[in-house]
Amino acid sequence: MQDKQFIKETLLESAHAYRAGRMDRRSFLALCGMSGVAMSAVMAGDAKAAADHIVMWNWGGISEECHGSAIGVPFQEKTGMGMKFDTSGPLEGKIREMVDSGNVTADVCDGDLFNAVSLGPTGHLEPIDYSIVSKDKTLPQYALEYGISIILYGYAFVYDTEMYGDNPPKNWADFFDTETFPGTRSLYKWANGSLEAALMADGVPGDQLYPLDMDRALNKIKSIKDDSIYWGSGSEVHSMCISGEASMAIIWQNRGKNIEMDTDGRYKLVNNQAMAMPGAYIVPKGNPAGREAVMKFIATAQEVPVQLDILDCLGMTPSNPAAFSEIPEEQQPYAITSAQNIDNIVYNDPVWWGENGGDAVNAFLEAIS
């Protein structure tokens, strides 16, 4: 009996070593072979038994480094648990597929709050435990049953200052006015933000956007179709601006900052009527580290210093109201809830998007193609 226990511990230890890269695959396989245990069995057992880390499923790039330093470090100090990453991007379809397959490998997804609305009721997500996570540390409308907003990102637009020197566009109405402001527009291909912008341009007040009047929005989008191109990723719209291909572009604020920098100020960000989008943490049903551990992780990410670190590193705006007033001076223009911007912004409704997003994206794609 003792022997078995010993072998199991040795194997678990070596599984850790193998995962961390301290042991090569061949030695590990040999060890498994000697003890007559299939490698997959050890790895699978390991994932369940040794919940000593949180696996975050995010979008890769710089976010791996930023989430690690901003959340991972304080979380480890507090709980002793580490943090690992899956950087393949938690698209809704992938989360659903992962949970349906029964092989859940991620603990927390860096997703959108509308994902929580569409995937929660179908049983693909763990509900948020509000005895550990605080409802007060986010905007009140962004603490939902199956997800909570940790950061906000914003849709605003940039324009080419050389093109519109003396009379720059100031709002969405100008963005959609191709007579006064000729030039190519670039819009987000997956409808989000583009639809709201179109409605505001058509005269709908920012606080009465939802439920979105799809026909009205799509007609407005179609009205500038000949002058529009559409982007699918941040780097794509970035290059459209750098090359001068687009004279105006709907854009994420943190990306807008990079474009301003890379064009030496030729492109300028307009925050008036910017849209606050709740980026949320959601937990796939049956996550390997267990519900309590991941809730503690989410609670850590709500802390003011953590939120400010994320802003500094990743350019994502805090969603914790206590952090709004501490947004540093140089970040003010690019943080959607900064004192400079907060009075002129509108708020996305994740519930509408969660319930109608699929149809809206399809209708949008059909309108632009």
């Binding site: 379809g93 001068g244 699929g358």
Partner: protein
């Protein structure tokens, strides 16, 4: 056992393990897709009826078909000229041409797509050069539209068109053409009445290959189309990953599969499929 052997050749036993692998890992998931297309979100043919009732679906399919058809026509036409030149060049030149062809064949579709943006984009080499020498005063829109998609796809597909054509042309007996000339036909007549009919299997093979591969194009239309050219592959991916309409995705996937199989079937009405793909041409 004896009775069994009479009906089933023992050779099948050798194939059986591979056959099983194909059934389990390929046909199984495929059937699952078929199943999904009639069960998600609710049992029935609701997903398929969208083909008739939804204008958008028809438009996406038409865009895909049109783009693939134009790509096929141009790729095969260009490929025919290239293959003709290669087959009739000296061995050394032929090797150089083949190497160049294969190099472009091997470069990833992503790299080639972005290369076109560099060349023909708004601020690209061609537009910049034209502007500098004063030919144009504002950049020509080559990219982010259907033209861009076609340029990218045709360029990618030319090597696929050349290879079957070349294989076909190499098997032709040059004495046939010589005989035609000898009997008084001029060059054009010989080409039209002898060479072209003889290369028809090659043309069909490469058209088929190019068309079928084009149907699944995803990266090129997504990047060069500027969002305006929505083809089936991209639409399927959106339905799977973003809008979670797996039934629609499965339906379109099934439709593509049936389309390709139907194409192959139509081909067999006109010629032996094995001849098209280079095997047993003389039977």
């Amino acid at each position: 056992m004896q009775a069994l052997r009479k009906h089933i050749s023992p050779g099948w036993l050798l194939v059986a393990p591979f056959f099983l692998v194909v059934v389990v890992f390929y046909l199984g998931p495929l059937l699952n897709i078929l199943w999904l297309s009639v069960t998600d979100p609710e049992p029935g043919f609701g997903n398929y009826s969208a083909l008739v009732t939804s204008d958008a679906m028809a438009r996406i399919l038409w865009t895909t078909f049109r783009t693939c058809l134009i790509t096929t026509v141009f790729s095969v036409a260009i490929g025919y000229c290239l293959a003709y030149a290669m087959v009739h060049a000296h061995q050394k030149k032929q090797n150089i041409m083949l190497t160049l062809l294969l190099i472009s064949f091997w470069i990833s579709v992503l790299v080639r797509t972005f290369a076109w943006l560099m060349l023909l984009g708004h601020n690209g080499l061609v537009n910049n050069a034209f502007e500098t020498i004063g030919l144009i005063d504002r950049p020509i829109r080559f990219m982010r539209n259907e033209l861009g998609v076609l340029i990218g796809m045709i360029h990618y597909m030319v090597p696929y068109a050349v290879l079957p054509l070349m294989a076909n042309m190499q098997t032709l007996d040059p004495r046939v053409m010589a005989a035609s000339r000898n009997l008084g036909a001029n060059g054009v007549q010989t080409f039209r009445r002898i060479y072209l009919p003889l290369t028809l299997p090659g043309i069909v093979a490469s058209s088929l290959l190019v068309f079928i591969l084009s149907l699944g194009f995803y990266v090129t239309p997504a990047i060069l189309g500027g969002g305006k050219v929505l083809m089936v592959a991209e639409y399927i991916s959106v339905q799977l990953l973003v809008t979670l309409k797996w039934g629609t995705a499965a339906m379109l996937g099934t439709l593509m599969l049936i389309g390709v199989l139907a194409l192959l079937w139509i081909m067999t009405r006109f010629m032996q499929l094995s001849a098209v793909f280079g095997g047993g041409a003389t039977r």
